[in-house]
């Protein structure tokens, strides 16, 4: 008979996985998705702190361009001789801040952490499709981080051509200090990073499509999984393109080819390179670069969907619309890259096409924003720290997204391109929104990761400082941008029209410093709670998804016995007729006769008949 169940306990599973668990295989070269998730998260947090400190350094320069801070020289040595940050180092700071935040924190730290943690857990899988590749993915990422930080210890300094590394600055080792060894290290680091992301992404896609437990069809997947899945697809299709761009760049730098270089004079010397086109690089770069911003924001959208629904105690509003809008964003993300290049001399017709595709992205994005609000509407809201960050994420997504409509206009972009308006836009919609999504995820799934709860009071404190701080930092930048202040400029005092903005910079810098200090609350909370947090219960948020059916103690293979079977979608919160306000996905309809709706049975006549009979016997009247 097919219903014979071969008992499958954790020990048995170990028999073909790990024979002996040593410290090295458990904590360092672990192939367990839960441990790899934690490795990604902690590395991501370290990189975030590092990148945040870099931003504080250049904020100090922007606010007080004429003041000396002798303490800076103590830490930075020749990069801040006399206590003032050097212009070359300023450029390195913005470059590495951007690179680390976009790639290491918000791509690897966000996607890497939560895809690894939640895909097997929420789908009911024992681990990823290929745990070994998963481990490699982390270690490639780790080495990429080490190399990037290592570039601060070379004599000519880290890369300084901006995170977009446009040639010729990035292609000519002699052009500026940061174009030398620092740039080479940047490229090496990024190649490893891409390898890491592709390996990770392949695993995520494959796991979602092949490793779902019984009953978990695609339309019963939580929105988190949908967003990780689509993010991984975007990454798989776009990162290899960056590899090609970088390979050609490396040849231009090191071998003397002319893919991107032409008609250049450096230090009075005419270079032999002829015939190359820097625009070619921009096309290849932005073919990755634009999808990359959705790689950054989509996981945050998925995490907040789950957290907002759970903490509103309401089904997510428009589940299908949420999925289709993610799919829409995925598809559109590949045909809008030209909006970064409106001012490169692009054919105006082509600019018009890119403008239209860009503005269309506002549609799925708005669908998501409205669905969030409709989910919150009249919900029985629990303002946990995770929920606060989720709502904060929605706030940033809206306020930052609105300025995207300005920037997407080819004509307006002529004025706004490369100004602080752009900086304000992407720091809100991509930077702050994604960081908030990530923090929301950390607060919500911390009990799943570490078996303990985080401190709520510190969480609220952290939220309000960060939320207000982020708006104070980025909102004023819009006005600077409209006034035409260009980004990446070293000293506002050098240009009369910018001088009036120095006072605003002082406000922004103080806000950044205070918000930065606020992160200490998070760090103390995060690392302290690993050992001292209150012990977590199995399902602390009364949530429906499968990860909360696993034991608090982590075991290899996730579930001690059989993997649970899924019977329903993940958003049965506050279902009328049920005695609790949540029904986990593994509860069969036969146990919830008093709350079943006819559409739950998806046209299964037999089930409908049984339900109708039960309704009659129990005098249950179903509305609609």
């Amino acid at each position: 008979m097919s219903s014979t169940v071969i008992s499958h306990d954790a020990g048995h599973h170990d028999a073909h996985g790990h024979h002996h668990e040593t410290f090295l295989t458990k904590y360092i070269f672990s192939q367990d998705h839960k441990m790899i998730a934690k490795q990604f998260l902690i590395t991501g947090i370290i990189m975030a702190v590092f990148a945040m400190l870099l931003s504080l350094l250049f904020r100090i320069q922007l606010a007080w361009p004429d003041k000396d801070f002798p303490i800076l020289e103590v830490f930075l040595g020749k990069w801040a001789e006399g206590g003032r940050i050097k212009p070359e180092f300023f450029l390195s700071l913005v470059t590495i801040h951007g690179t680390m935040m976009v790639f290491f924190v918000l791509t690897a730290g966000l996607s890497g952490t939560f895809s690894n943690l939640l895909i097997p857990y929420q789908l009911g899988a024992r681990d990823m499709a290929s745990p070994f590749m998963n481990m490699l993915s982390y270690w490639f990422f780790f080495v990429a981080c080490v190399i990037m930080i290592g570039s601060f210890f070379v004599e000519s300094g880290p890369a300084s051509a901006g995170w977009t590394i446009y040639p010729p600055l990035s292609a000519l080792p002699t052009s500026i200090a940061g174009s030398g060894l620092g740039m080479s290290l940047w490229l090496a680091s990024m190649v490893l990073f891409i390898a890491s992301q592709v390996m990770g992404g392949v695993n995520y896609i494959s796991t979602v499509l092949n490793m779902r437990t019984k009953g978990m069809d695609l339309w019963r997947m939580p929105l988190t999984i949908w967003s990780f899945f689509l993010t991984a697809i975007v990454g798989l299709l776009s990162f290899p393109v960056l590899v090609s761009a970088v390979v050609l760049l490396i040849f231009d730098r090191s071998a003397g080819t002319s893919f991107y270089l032409s008609d250049l004079v450096v230090g009075g010397q005419i270079l032999p390179n002829e015939g190359g086109s820097p625009i070619l690089f921009q096309h290849l770069f932005w073919f990755l670069g634009h999808p990359e911003v959705y790689i950054v924001v989509m996981p945050a959208l998925g995490l907040t969907s789950e957290v907002i629904s759970t903490n509103s105690r309401k089904p997510i509003f428009g589940y299908h619309a949420m999925v289709y809008s993610l799919v829409g964003i995925t598809v559109l993300s590949f045909i809008v890259w030209g909006h970064h290049m409106f001012v490169t001399g692009m054919n105006p017709f082509l600019g018009g096409v890119f403008m239209i595709t860009t503005l269309i992205i506002a549609v799925p994005s708005a669908v998501k924003a409205f669905n969030y609000m409709a989910t919150l509407w009249r919900g029985n809201i629990r303002f946990t720290p995770a929920m606060m960050f989720a709502i904060g994420m929605v706030s940033f997504f809206i306020s930052g997204g609105l300025t995207g409509i300005f920037l997407g206009n080819a004509t307006l972009d002529i004025n706004l391109h490369d100004t602080y308006f752009v900086v304000a836009h992407f720091h809100l919609v991509m930077g702050s929104a994604s960081i908030f999504g990530m923090l929301c995820g950390v607060y919500h799934w911390y009990p799943k990761m570490f078996g303990r709860m985080m401190n709520e009071k510190l969480g609220y404190f952290h939220f309000w400082l960060t939320f207000i701080g982020a708006y104070l930092v980025f909102f004023p930048m819009h006005f600077m941008g409209i006034d035409g202040v260009p980004r990446r400029y070293y000293a506002f005092t050098e240009f009369p029209f910018m001088e009036k903005w120095v006072s605003v910079n002082v406000l922004v810098t103080w806000a950044a410093i205070i918000a930065g200090l606020g992160q200490l609350a998070f760090l103390i909370n995060f690392f302290g709670s690993i050992w001292n947090g209150k012990k977590a219960t199995q399902n602390p948020w009364n949530s429906n998804t499968l990860e909360w059916t696993t034991p608090v103690e982590h075991i290899h293979g996730n579930w001690p016995g059989e993997i649970p079977t899924v019977y329903r979608w993940p958003y049965d919160y506050s279902k009328p007729g049920h005695d609790e306000d949540f029904i986990p996905q593994n509860v069969p309809f036969s146990q919830t006769m008093s709350s079943n709706m006819m559409h739950d049975f998806e046209g299964d006549d037999e089930a409908v008949r049984i339900q109708e009979q039960w309704n009659k016997e129990n005098n249950r009247v179903v509305e609609g």
């Binding site: 219903s3 896609i205 590899v243 080819t257």
Partner: protein
């Protein structure tokens, strides 16, 4: 009776299916890389009349194409032999495939020599010609990995790993190697069309 927990055999099958799927996804990634290079080539070549390959591609490419097609056939036969449990035949054909792979590598490097003799250098102000080296070079890197995958399948069968594992390794190696074969044919045709 569908709603029962999965048993061990099912889980192994599921994992294998997922791993093979991983390979297909990896192939999509590799394909995107070469698609990017192709579009880069097209955009670059269209940027001026002095751009373009502007040379006759070496004869060696025809020989290497024949070699890799032949290696695909031998590998396919090796895979069939493995499925039938004919281990001796599998070993032999697998070894032949590895040798053909190495020959392909050598012939490609030979083709570079011919190209430089024709005055088509890698460092070139007509980067369309540099692209020939980038295409073939990146493909060769993949071939090196492909040979390693073949060797892994070979050591597996030499060590006598269980038949299920053996066939699975062969399955993956075959898919990957056929992809490399097709990729080369694509690159060659692409270059010929732009000759």
């Amino acid at each position: 009776m569908g709603n029962i927990a999965m048993n061990l055999e099912e889980e192994i099958q599921q994992t294998r299916k997922a791993k093979k799927f991983n390979l297909w996804l990896g192939i999509i990634g590799m394909f995107m890389m070469f698609a990017a290079l192709s579009s880069g080539f097209i955009v670059y070549t269209a940027s001026g009349v002095d751009k373009g390959i502007k040379t006759i591609l070496p004869q060696a490419f025809i020989y290497s194409t024949l070699t890799i097609v032949l290696s695909s056939i031998t590998l396919h036969l090796a895979y069939s032999a493995a499925k039938l449990g004919n281990i001796g035949r599998q070993k032999l054909l697998l070894l032949v495939t590895v040798v053909l792979g190495i020959i392909f590598f050598v012939v490609q490097v030979q083709a570079w020599k011919v190209l430089t003799e024709q005055g088509v250098y890698f460092i070139n102000n007509n980067a369309s010609q540099s692209f020939i080296y980038v295409f073939t070079g990146l493909h060769l890197l993949h071939i090196v990995v492909g040979i390693l995958v073949l060797l892994r399948a070979l050591t597996g069968v030499l060590k006598g790993i269980p038949q299920g594992d053996n066939v699975f390794r062969m399955d993956l190696a075959t898919v990957f190697w056929h992809f490399l074969d097709l990729l080369w044919i694509y690159i060659y045709v692409f270059l010929l069309l732009n000759q």
